[in-house]
Amino acid sequence: MAKEEKRRPFGMAQIIYTLLVISIVIPLLNPVGLPIGISSTTRDVYNYIENTLPAGKPVLIDLYYEMAARAELEPQVAAVIKHLFEKNCKLVFVSTITYGPIVFELLKSTAADLFADKTYGVDYVFLGYIAGNEPAVRSLATSIRGTVAVDNYGTAISALQMMANIDKAEDFALVFIASSGTDTFGWYVRQWYTPYDIPLLFGALSVIGPSIKPYVDAGQAIGMLTGQRSAAEYETLVGRKGLGLASMDAQSFAHALILIFIIIGNIILFATRSKPKPEGGRRK
């Protein structure tokens, strides 16, 4: 049996992978347009930015994700940036991961419409990658100018018009952390929320959602967006069609397929369990 399987050019795993790819490609090519409801979690975030966040105030955005996570996090970031720019907020981008400068440039090129009428140094700045993890986050809370001398492009922080009155945690109205890691959220809860009471907004991968939800439930963050699903909901709310909405049909089909596999797997398991074991041997 094992030898027969070895000779097969295409095994069960490859069949499952192929079906999965088909279930994603077909809805991407021919969108069905399945309805998308807005969850209370996403609506809470939208309502906070719309109604509670003071207009024109500075917002810190930490881009802590690598290229692989772009598909899940970039649509969220783009939708939130659109909303923040609509409220004339001043955006200070920073990254505590080395991939930050790349993902920031990719964000600017894929969401060029958001930055088209905005001026660097007046409406937004990018401080670049800052090494040091949690101590670096703490240092930024104490003083940006004391932490980093120049922005990502070598311009002195003091020469950036927007940064004239922005230096420490108290100067910010909100921190948006878009992270593919779990620890990043804890750094900001400990170094920005707990000592300074600065509101935090989490943008996370779906898989990280359950780990950071306790922070949101405890009121340590104003809300969280998780994965493409939240991105699609936020894109609907701010009226900007992006990757989040584009991928929802594919997500639904892929999940349905995996659900079918789980049901079939369980049926096979129960069917083989009910068979009596052969004497002195293992069940086949």
Binding site: A13, V25, L28, P135, R190, Q220
Partner: protein
Amino acid sequence: MIELIGGWLAAVMIVWIYSFVYKDNVLYRLAEHLFVGTAAGYSIALSLDSLNRTAFGQMVKGVEYWHLIIPILLGLTFFFKYSKKYYWVARYGVGVNVAVGAALALRAAPMANIIKQINAAVLPLWVAGDPLKTFNNWLMILITLGGLTYFIFTFFPKTEGKAGPVRIAYKALVTIGIYGMMVGFGYLFANTIMTRVGFLIGIILQYLQPRFDATLVAMILAIIAIAFAVLKKK
């Protein structure tokens, strides 16, 4: 032109990396090694740039920043790890690094990670006019207590003889804790699938270009990768 070459290079690497789904092959390993090497080189370059902007760039601003020489020197002690004779010097850098990290985290951790979380678990057991909220609060409290009880490894009620109220309560809480955790794991698993499928969608969307030649080249690359694996198998 450089962007075009970069785009095609990325496309080639993605196809070769995904060829692992069929089977391990030489093109997959080539792409993997190229990625690891490039990522390591990029991280070193970015780290040096960060050092320049956060330390040297500050020091030239004035004498009030000269104290930054201390962390720079402590950081340099890390390289003594490569010396058999003076490897112990590296311990000073590591020691300070660990101490600073721990001190900063511990300063706010009791409030952020313990007290606030306990506060959040203190919920009203009766919410007038909202039975769903009441049910949710009961569920939350019972599962929290059940989960905590499951991880108590130093106390077990006696198992012999007639079951007393302590043993019954203990068993009930542990059972609730187990079921609560199972639901949690299910939630986590579903989210894991969503993330992985999301990554795949992101990659596939890069290939669903309106240009036919791009898709054709991608398919040829995939066939080459699979052919390598099949030939090697034979």
